[in-house]
Symmetry: C2
Subunit: 671 residues, 2 copies
């Protein structure tokens, strides 16, 4: 084996650059961390949990090549993720926390563990859709890991379009059972995480059939395999669906059911019930209510998207701080972060990660409000919440995926290496674009809600308070000379938060009313008109959500006034302003203002990313090492690669399997 280069005692040039950049901040990083995680105590607890789990996993020594970058085929990746998931899950049980229910010690989404859906979807589905008896029976088991569950909705032929689900659950009144069955190839359950090898149970979505009646999709608790020996129960075929762009530690899987019998009492019965004689009852909107698990998951995904974007941005910011390139004629080099295009790109991503995070806090607050109202018997907030969680999920995951990929590209060639940590972040964030509701479908759902809102206005009725802004629509008529119908603000007035909010609100209102007019005024059938105007509907939905995000970002900062230091307040206000202005295209005055904001934030870049408090082990990135020792870490890790260790056995430097079978014969071939 070739000796591994030991970490150098002397500080490298890059480490010095990093220390300097870190010291340049005008605010206290810890104060911002506390704001993100809720309190100083929460930050401390979170650190403790990471420390314990990373110690147990053996990932704390960052001079050692992370195992995931070694020779990991699919099966080893699965076992590695099982280990990480188990240790994190059990740490949560032992210490009573849920730090790892969304973001894991490998820096990525709960989907990165084969048992992650137990927490993200299985337990919530029982809580939200199970009857009192069902909750009492199943929740303790799932929470303590006595059973491990997943959530099985999507099929080979249908994903986001729930009404197309084909799996059936037919009531057999003679035995008081449901018969679960996959009637076609396209009805094969396909995609659920952990379904193939890791879960014992699933909440399964299937069409409820009672005699000749098809009541549509309902949820059922189905035991998949023996708790004793792990074998699938009779009639259930389970298997993995193969390697993916990311999450290869998870057994995303398929399942085929052949007349599998479960008790009638296994249908989730909070919102719908089925009696032994087949009598079916359902509360109003039961389909939407049974969908609450997905609604909750989407709200969480907005927060996860913020973390993913923040992680990618942290890596890119750190590397851009210590990576130097020639400036031009005089041959001196400077940090690439100082080049305007990099400076602009990185800082706008930082602003976006905070904007997304604060919007996700707003989403959670609204979700809790709606759940509380629902317990009081009111469903009036549900349509807004549905559109909010769909729209924020679509916006946040789309922006995070694009932003993470941008961050990767900003790292040049090295961002293409797995050891940069970025390919995995890009791939796992881009997966979110289609998980739990494909974004284009979600945008259209938001659009449908917006059309209905304007219908409501037209009927002279009141809108949900959070949507009331649309009622100003009649006053906005962009004159023929107005570019994008924009307000009359000039120069530095664009820095005024009210002006910024006006611009976003105005744009959203204008686009929503315009598309409503075209859609409702069309002479075509609604279906044809909908298809014809689809692109404009999506544009309007995006404008609405972008206004909501900016409003939430600004309101959150406003709300903090007086509770945080002036220096932090200034930074957050500047970030919010940058977020707002970097989406407004092109007027020369705005460009100049953006340049001013960028200058102000440059010294804060490292502190703004440090504040997320990501550990080196969770970022798993040679480019994103907190100490800035990029080149040292890269070479140390690379030397430890199994393929190199194998080639350097006996100090040979030859990778024998390749040389002997292919290279040597080419050189000697007579063609």
């Amino acid at each position: 084996m070739a000796p591994v280069i030991p970490p150098s005692a002397a500080k490298t040039h890059q480490v010095v650059l990093m220390e300097k950049a870190r010291a340049a901040a005008s605010f206290n990083t810890s104060e911002l961390s506390c704001l993100i995680y809720g309190s100083a105590e929460a930050v401390k607890q979170r650190r403790g949990a990471y420390d314990r789990v990373e110690t147990q996993l053996g990932t704390k020594d960052t001079s050692v090549l992370p195992r995931i970058y070694g020779n990991m085929d699919r099966e080893r990746a699965y076992q590695e993720s099982l280990e990480m998931g188990t240790i994190a899950f059990q740490d949560g049980i032992k210490h009573g926390h849920n730090f790892f229910s969304e973001v894991t010690p490998r820096g990525i989404f709960a989907n990165a563990s084969p048992i992650g859906l137990n927490i993200l979807l299985f337990i919530p589905a029982i809580e939200l859709c199970g009857s009192a008896e069902q909750r009492a029976q199943w929740l303790p088991l799932a929470k303590e890991g006595k059973i491990i569950g997943t959530y099985a909705q999507t099929e080979l032929g249908h994903g986001t379009f729930v009404r197309g689900i084909e799996t059936t659950a037919a009531l057999d009144t003679t035995t008081d059972e449901f018969v679960i069955h996959s009637p076609t190839k396209s009805s094969t359950k396909f995609w659920p995480g952990g379904l193939g090898f890791s879960s014992t149970h699933a909440i399964l979505m299937a069409r409820l059939l009672v005699g000749a009646d098809d009541h549509g999709p309902h949820l059922f608790m189905v035991q998949l395999r023996s708790l004793e020996d792990g074998k699938p129960l009779p009639g259930i075929k389970l298997g993995d669906i193969g390697p993916k762009l990311a999450y290869n530690g998870v057994d995303n899987s398929f399942a085929v059911f052949t007349n599998v019998r479960i008790s009638r009492l296994n249908m989730l019965m909070k919102h719908t019930t089925i009696a032994a004689d087949g009598t079916y009852t359902a509360v109003p909107n039961h389909a939407v209510l049974n969908y609450a698990t997905m609604l909750r998951a989407r709200a969480i995904m907005t927060r996860i998207a913020a973390f993913q974007l923040a992680q990618a941005t942290t890596i890119a910011t750190r590397y851009s701080t210590v990576r130097e390139q020639g400036a031009g004629s005089n041959g001196t080099e400077k940090s690439v972060l100082q080049y305007k295009h990099q400076h602009f790109r990185i800082l706008t991503l930082i602003a976006k990660s905070y904007g997304t995070f604060f919007a996700s806090k707003y989403c959670t607050t609204e979700y809790e409000k709606v759940m509380h109202q629902q317990e009081q018997g009111s469903l009036s907030g549900l349509p807004y919440m549905h559109s909010l969680s769909a729209g924020l999920k679509a916006w946040a995951t789309g922006e995070a995926a694009d932003g993470a990929e941008d961050a990767r590209k900003y790292c040049g060639g090295h961002g293409f290496l797995m050891i940069s940590g970025l390919p995995d972040l890009v791939a796992s964030s881009t997966g979110m674009v289609t998980f739990e509701g494909e974004n284009y479908v979600l945008w259209l759902q938001v659009g449908r809600y917006l059309i209905k809102c304007v219908d409501t206005l037209v009927q002279g009725k009141k809108l949900h308070p959070e949507m009331a802004y649309l009622s100003d629509g009649s006053t906005y008529n962009a004159g023929p000379g107005a570019v994008n119908g924009v307000c009359e603000a000039q120069g530095s007035a664009f820095l005024d938060q009210h002006v910024q909010l006006d611009i976003y609100r105005h744009r959203a209102t204008r686009l929503v009313h315009a598309i409503h007019k075209r859609f409702r005024g069309s002479s075509k059938t609604p279906e044809e008109a909908w298809n014809q105007h689809m692109l404009s509907i999506i544009t309007a939905a995006r404008a609405h959500i972008e206004y909501i995000v900016l409003r939430a970002f600004a309101a959150h900062i406003h709300h903090l006034e007086g509770t945080i230091s002036v220096s932090l307040m200034n930074i957050l206000a500047t970030l919010c302003s940058l977020f707002a202005l970097s989406h407004i295209i092109n007027p020369r005055t705005v460009d100049a203002l953006v340049n001013g904001l960028l200058e102000g934030l440059l010294p804060e870049a490292i502190a703004l990313t440090d504040a997320w408090d990501f550990t080196d082990a969770s970022l798993c990135s040679a480019l994103g090492m907190k100490d800035g020792d990029v080149y040292g870490t890269m070479m140390r890790w690379v030397e430890q690669l199994p393929i190199n260790q194998r080639a350097w056995e006996h100090n040979e430097g030859v990778y024998r399997p390749g040389w002997e079978k292919w290279i040597d014969p080419i050189l000697k071939a007579k063609l």
Copy 2:
């Protein structure tokens, strides 16, 4: 082992849909294939080559899970690619063709084979920069595979910024040798494909040192390892740089040189020479001339980008044709390609793939023109060619990467599966954005050229003929009421190709002149002004290249007039028009015209992608199977996954390594 589902004899619903869609075309697919590959004979030869290689590789039977989707760790991936590369390379030698020098039988870039750079960079570098004696000595060896070469330019600390290269080649006049040395950690050669284990030689870029003189980067032929036993020569340390986003079959590598001696005659001496006494001579512009290999590679990359985009689009088009989703209230389903947002997205990608391809043909023609002029002693075309290849490379690879990712997203969740073929296409096309010149750096090079062009105009001198359009700049002054300074065309006039070209030319001219004025008029130092205006410079450079692409696309079609059928001519003209209009934002009239073009092209979608003539084995995509049997292929492949085969041994359905070590203990844990 569980039995594998045999291909069904009956046509599935999806196969029927595909046949119908294929039959809908109004033109002859073969005619378009001949146009792409040059002639009917070329199409036939190409098919023969694919057939032989795929037969030898054993990839023709598409009911068998492609090996790359099985349990492939890094080392097995490397050997798999060696096999593919060797068979393809030797087929080219035996049958005298170069079908695989750019696109391989695995559907991706030459970089996908560990010996691919022998063809893409090593041989061309000798041809373009070697003296007559050097060419006579080395070319036959490289072409016959008696030596296998790579091209080693980038270092750990410097990639695209060539002047920052640190590796040194110091002349020792006492022994008539160069001493090749890596003086720092950041000077480690890093990234070259095949360097670690597969190549015997490299064209190395290093600073030429003669006594106290540093003549800057020059090219040297360096033997890396023994041709007998493959061992690295003394003083050379070689190794792989680890797993990447894509191209994991290639040993992208690092190399450290410790005072390695090579003959003085190993410097490439076409444009520069060094005498035994250290006397140095160089033709004017030798640095640019020595860079010709990269210039050629960029021209080729534009064509490769077109193929990559076409491959991703082919998969997405085929899957969107057979994937059905519910239309709304009446519960019927239709092909997702008929939904406007999918329809728009897919067809604009098809148009873009053809636009990129025809622009690459223009680039090749210009390259050959410049090389011919150069042989006649004229370098006047070089600056234009340099900016053209840089700009087209940046534009085409950026659009291909974004387009391939879009195509992946248009396939919903299934596009996240490796068996869709899309993750690999996305990852390999996104790599091109940074390979052989990071796109942002290239855009700035184009910008610098454009500034110089306007300087030339200001001095009253003539521009390169292809740039003459900029001299109309003075006549374009967008009035205060003009939106983006656009022309006065109305309604269907936007369908007029001349109007479209006017719009693109006008925009480019306006932006280039505007940024020239701001940059040259700045009171700051040139370096500061450059940094300040960087974003606008890139915008202007993009506008210029987009005009060039549209101009090349339109000119190519114009040139075909009379030589191809009217039906094909109509299709190509419609594609060109869609390409032009889909980049123009928003005016209502344009939206309506685009809708019209989309309607016209919908029945042609399958034929337009079939025309590229990609084999099923090279696309390696369950979603992109030519026959449309998506779900059948997916399930057949998934059943064959090694992890499933292992779990189903003895009909158990339990993946023992995971169950025994992790799941079972969780279920039994007492916490």
